[in-house]
């Protein structure tokens, strides 16, 4: 059927395109379905994986140092298991046997670095022993489980006299022992490590008298993976709730089905693309696909509502209604999709591989909405039976429509305008006050990924309570030449460095080569306390190192110093990884390093969990403002082209900026920090507001062409497009808020945050934007007044 009826001249091309899509429906549909089938196949190949390396800003100096030395001095992926006894001490035959067997169990867990296990039951934890003839030997504390009470007493004596053990891996009250294991980054299989640690380290040794607590990043991700199946429940329940809500709104199952098709097709394209470019899904990023799908569904609801409206206007002619709704909503839908897709791309600025991959996949996924929502949409409507006319009319008679009508009248009145501006101005001022508390990095000592009372955080708190700190910051002392670490001055500087940084309230304790040399020196001098110092000469130091390390293979000694004695490290164990604490500790380290240069070596920051988190936080701080600016700038540029007006973008961005400030203030008040997990969600969230605004402004322009009166046009836009926006926002907020039931605290908090974000953006676009338009009468809208809709084909 040709386009043989009158259509608006300026949209003739869009009407023609809509009509042609229906005319060539078979090849278009075959092409889209074939491609969707391919993407669907790929999307089912997707796996749930977190790649630790991808979470780090690989170009940052700290991460380069971390990567260079993590294989020898220890990385960020430590598991710390603590065995604590309720009664008595760990120094009994039974308890020491447990520690020994736990250590053996940990040594067989997949991915463990066998040379980087610290426990009194492991061969690498040694003490100095004076052997017959006065020679000194460095021997493991426990070569086997104790068999007699004498063995137990001997182990206790050794522990109490070893500076590298007592207080560090055995608590000062003798009630707890630590087992610290480092995992090889390339072999991190969180799920497998979690299960094997449970089987080999936790379950066989836990009983009424003995408690086992396990913390550390691999353990944390293991818990997150174990909770990931929650997501299916959340998705199923939200799907059902959304279906019911859409069915109630449209009074028709087609209204429930059509947005689902859009969401599912876009999801296949997005998920398939993620697999296609060699990525996997991160369990902490599962809110993201949900959010993009929600956006696809939101566009589809707008289109479906408009289709019903046009169906009535077009005298119940289905094909004309399909073409008209396609053409009339093309600009706001396409513009909304493009602004979202390009807005997300600014995340590329942060040099974190995971975020860059996410930016590309999210952008592609959002662009895929154009296929499912615009290309396929007219064809889907063509094949669906036309809705019953009475249902189309019924949708305009319900209590929802009456409520919107009543509120809109009040809102556009003089009092309403003043009240709206007053409330928004106050809200922004209050938010600006609170937003100063926004943290970069994690704002709490416990892990924000899981709930405070979760087994992980309970373990973490118990270990911190007994040992003071478990999260390592590794500062490398890189020598300029061989034997640099035998230089007395270098070792003394390392010791001073330890004492200086230990004064920070968030540092539990520290360890370095200097501690070993002092302890060995004392043993060499018959345990006289006055010899607990670093010797003055290279030869003395070399001799003592020889005594201590001579019985150990280089693979074992490498965790303290490299075989040529060129490079060693100072490791600080922090009590938490709060953003503020990390920033302060790193600043103290940098100050000390600057004020205490060494002749033979230089300190290099920084490895370990604290080091890499510091790097990530620094990159976020460096790029956050720029990213925000570019995000808004991108949206403004696209809006300028959409409405051929420089000011159009400003009107649409004003409510968005206000919403942004309020949401950031909420994050500050609720202690939600900006980190590599929250950042992309927050950036994608920005787009929601712009979509709502686009539909309202486009409809206002359409209305003013016919009505010429701005107030009436705004009113009409709010009770038509605004009604659909209200319904969309309500369903999205309800379903997103359902994420608060997740066992993964991060997903729950992000769900709630996004629900709040959507609510504020919605309120901004539905209240502040129309009032700004009414008050300032922008030229890009006013110039359309009276241009009339040149026939409408109705």
């Amino acid at each position: 059927m040709a386009l043989d009826y009158e259509v608006p001249e300026d949209k003739r091309a869009l009407y023609w395109l809509g009509d042609k899509l229906i005319e060539y429906r078979t090849p278009v549909m075959a092409l889209v379905l074939l491609t969707t089938g391919m993407f669907a196949y790929w999307s089912f190949q997707l796996r749930l994986v977190t790649s630790f390396g991808d979470l780090l800003p690989q170009t940052h100096e700290f991460v380069k140092i971390h990567n260079k030395y993590s294989g020898t001095f220890g990385g960020a992926n430590n598991i710390v298991a603590m065995m604590a006894v309720e009664e008595g001490t760990i120094f009994t035959k039974k308890n020491l046997t447990k520690i020994f067997e736990m250590t053996e169990g940990m040594d067989t867990v997949y991915g463990v670095n066998h040379n980087q296990i610290e426990s009194i039951g492991h061969r690498t934890v040694r003490h100095l022993r004076v052997a017959a003839g006065g020679t000194l030997r460095a021997e493991p504390v426990m070569l086997r489980a104790p068999k007699t009470q004498e063995d137990v007493d001997e182990i206790r004596r050794i522990v109490h006299n070893a500076e590298n053990i007592y207080g560090l891996i055995v608590s000062l009250d003798d009630k707890a022992a630590l087992l610290r294991a480092n995992f090889i980054e390339g072999r991190l299989d969180y799920r497998r490590i979690f299960e094997e640690v449970n089987e080999k380290v936790v379950e066989p040794f836990s009983d009424e008298e003995t408690k086992i607590y396990v913390a550390g990043e691999p353990r944390l991700y293991g818990w997150v993976y174990s909770y990931a199946s929650d997501v299916f429940w959340i998705l199923v329940v939200t799907y059902c709730i959304e279906w019911i809500l859409r069915w109630m709104y449209f009074h028709d199952w087609r209204g429930a089905l059509r947005p689902t098709l859009t969401g599912v097709i876009a999801a296949f394209w997005g998920l398939g693309f993620i697999h296609l470019i060699g990525l996997a899904l991160d369990p902490l990023m599962l809110v993201m696909p949900f959010l993009i799908t929600a956006r696809a569904v939101s566009h589809a609801i707008q289109m479906h509502d408009r289709y019903y409206e046009e169906f009535e206007k077009c005298g119940w002619n289905k094909r004309r209604a399909i073409v008209a709704s396609f053409a009339e909503l093309f600009v706001p839908t396409f513009s909304g999709v493009v602004t979202d897709a390009f807005g997300v791309l600014v995340i590329l600025l942060v040099p974190v591989i995971m975020l860059q991959k996410l930016a590309i996949t999210a952008s592609f996924w959002i662009l895929a909405i154009t296929v499912s929502e615009m290309l396929l949409n007219p064809i889907v409507y063509y094949y669906l039976k036309a809705p019953e006319p009475e249902l189309v009319v019924l949708r305009e008679h319900g209590i929802f429509r009456k409520g919107i009508e009543w509120f809109t009248r009040l809102h556009v009145s003089r009092v309403g305008r003043l009240a709206t501006l007053g409330v928004w101005a106050t809200a922004v001022i209050v938010a600006l006050y609170f937003v100063r508390g926004l943290t970069i990095g994690d704002p709490t000592a416990a892990s924000p990924l899981v709930w405070l009372d979760s087994p992980y955080n309970v373990s973490h708190t118990e270990i911190q309570g007994r040992f003071g700190g478990v999260e390592p910051l590794i500062v490398v002392a890189e020598g300029f030449d061989k034997d640099a670490m035998k230089d007395p001055e270098a070792l003394r500087t390392m010791e001073r460095f330890q004492r200086a940084i230990e004064r920070d309230p968030d540092i539990g304790y520290s360890f370095s080569l200097a501690d070993i040399i002092r302890a060995v020196n004392r043993v060499f001098h018959e345990l006289e306390p006055k010899w607990l110092v670093i010797p003055d000469s290279w030869t003395d130091i070399g001799g003592l190192f020889f005594i201590f390390f001579s019985g150990s293979p280089p693979t074992e000694t490498a965790k303290y110093v490299d075989p040529s004695y060129t490079t060693a490290h100072v490791t600080f164990y922090a009590k938490n990884h709060q953003g503020d604490a990390i920033r302060r500790i790193i600043a103290r380290c940098e100050k000390f390093i600057e004020e205490n240069p060494m002749d033979k070596a230089a300190f290099k920051l920084a490895g370990g969990l604290i080091g890499v988190l510091a790097a990530a936080n620094q990159e976020l701080v460096r790029n956050d403002l720029l990213m925000n600016f570019l995000g808004f700038f991108t949206i403004w540029v696209i809006l300028t082209f959409t409405y051929r007006s420089i000011t159009a973008g400003l009107y649409l961005l004003a409510p968005l900026l206000a919403s942004n400030v309020i949401v950031n203030a909420y994050m500050a008040v609720q202690n939600i920090g900006i980190n590599i997990h929250t950042l992309p969600l927050v950036t994608v969230g920005v787009g929601f507001g712009i979509d709502y605004g686009l539909y309202i402004v486009s409809r206002t322009i359409e209305e003013i062409r016919e009505r010429s009166d701005l107030t009436e046009s705004v009113h009409q836009a709010l009770i038509t497009s605004g009604k659909a926006v209200t319904f969309t926002a309500a369903t999205m907020i309800v379903s997103t808020a359902f994420w608060i039931t997740s066992n993964i605290r991060f997903n729950a908090e992000m769900g709630l945050l996004l629900a709040i974000w959507m609510a504020i953006s919605y309120v901004g676009s539905q209240t502040l934007l129309p009032i700004l338009v009414l008050v300032f009468k922008p030229k890009f809208i006013m110039k359309e007044a009276g241009r009339g809709r040149m026939g409408s084909g109705h």
Binding site: F44, V236, W247, H251, W253, K318, K385, P389, E390
Partner: protein, 61 residues
């Protein structure tokens, strides 16, 4: 009960079919009967709905 991908797909498909059947075979006939009852008792809105349902010339090519 732990959900995986396939039983989740099963539940959402089943639920969608249930809603479609509920709408086509229960809700719509019930709504129409309700309007007829209300129209018979003089309700203007119900009469209008029935008028639209009866007079609209739907072109569904």
């Amino acid at each position: 009960m732990e959900l995986g991908i396939w039983n989740s797909i099963g539940i959402v498909l089943g639920f969608s079919l249930f809603v479609i059947a509920l709408d086509e075979y229960i809700a719509k006939p019930w709504r129409k009967r309700s309007w007829e009852r209300r129209a018979a008792s003089g309700d203007k809105e119900a009469q209008e709905m029935l008028r639209i349902a009866g007079s609209a010339n739907v072109v569904d090519e």
